[in-house]
Amino acid sequence: MMKLTLRNFAYSLVGIIALGALWWIASATFARDLPSPGKTWEESKVYVLQPLEKRGEMDQGIGRMAYYSLTRVAKGFLLAILIGTPLGFLLGSSNTFFRMFDPTIQVLRPISPLAWLPLGLVIFRQSEPAALFTIALCSMWPTVINTMSGVRAMPEDYRNVAKVLQLSRWKTLTKVSIPATIPYIFTGYRLSLGLAWLVIVACEMLTGTPGIGGFLWQEYNSLIYSHILMCILTIGVVGFTLDRLMGIVETRLRVV
């Protein structure tokens, strides 16, 4: 990860300016419907400057909408890691279990959220649980796979120490296997959280629930394109922040 210095910040500005320029050129030439950066800001600033304002169910400041989406992501992500971590542990520690379930997992893994969501709606008949179901199912796999590799990568020495000391299963798990696997688990969590955030937009679009993705889709239907751009930027910034936060936790744990 890059250090947060003034110099690095100056470098990263170059990328941002380049993107802005590209956007401006596109809006001025071939993409006539695309609002320019200036117009986008003009039409969106009320959402950004009053981020917690609530004017109507689907007309709220970006802070509020991001908050709705984040809560939903948090629930789905929690569900994903609650299921994914033990599943990864089982897959990593038992060859039989691995042979039984790995093929199924490999088939489920590449399925897109757009495919899961309708199934969720069929099963739960409500948009909220269907969204959580979709987020959990899509974001679980990095946790499962990283936890599994972590258990597999545990040095034979630790296993032998546990055996020689005749540690119980429980003690082996809590004093040896879990601490040894934690750095891998958190790498999985970071990737899972990233995926959960990717999936949220699709979920909200399809269910029309309030949140950053739902708002984006509504504004597209209302032909207010500048708001789409505002949502996209918000999604990016929030996702980036989440990743950084998880990254900090991850490096902390790696030191131990």
């Binding site: 055996k163 005749q166 131990v256």
Partner: protein, 265 residues
Amino acid sequence: MIKPLEVTSLTKVFDTPTGKNTVVKDFSISIPAGQFVSLLGHSGCGKSTVLSIMAGLQEATFGGVCVDGREISGPGLERALVFQSPSLLPWFSAEENVMLAVAQARPKLSRNEQRRQANHYLEMVGIAEYAKQLPAQLSQGTQQRVAIARALSLEPRFLLLDEPFGMLDSITRFELQDLVLDLWEKDRRTVVLVTHDVDEALYVSDRIILMTDGPEAQVGLELPIHLPRPRDRRSVSSNAEYFRLRAQVIDFLEHHSKQFQEKAA
């Protein structure tokens, strides 16, 4: 008479992709209480395999290991093993690593008492001041001392050491050999030391068991070492008997460790 620790006709066969590999075959030794025994042989002859079967980490293919005449069926706290690498759990401090063993050996103790005892063993190996440090902050030699403290804290009847000084520089290795000898002089616990270092084996042992080269390694020669105890490096290395024994061991390792294989061929 039954000896406290007996290895009887031990044979270990590994299934490898290229076929069966009989590492040791018909390996038998019996070790009286309180003896300091070394298993000496070329690298790869099967010393670690024998020791880890004695520790109960691997199963014998044929034959077995008996403690007081009863066959072992796995690891046991009366047999403590120290590995070549210190094998400390890196997320625990030195003290906590030892406490883990103390808690296993004496589960009824309070946490404070466990800590007190752990520190007692760290003191025995001369590193009480490092109790709160994580393994990564300690030198290899100090880490290995923690591993020895962890083994001792089980108060085992048998101390099984698998080349515990192999990774250390020679000065640290001498220090740890002396430490293990001092501890042994105090409690006369039965020790089985695996090593490929001739001088180390001669310096510390009551008896050296020389292994033939694998595959199908066996006991090639058993040598009692009657050097006076307590030993110190200087007087041992000026002892004429020491040189006679050393010549005998080296002669075996250079010329006779392959004899069984040749006979078979």
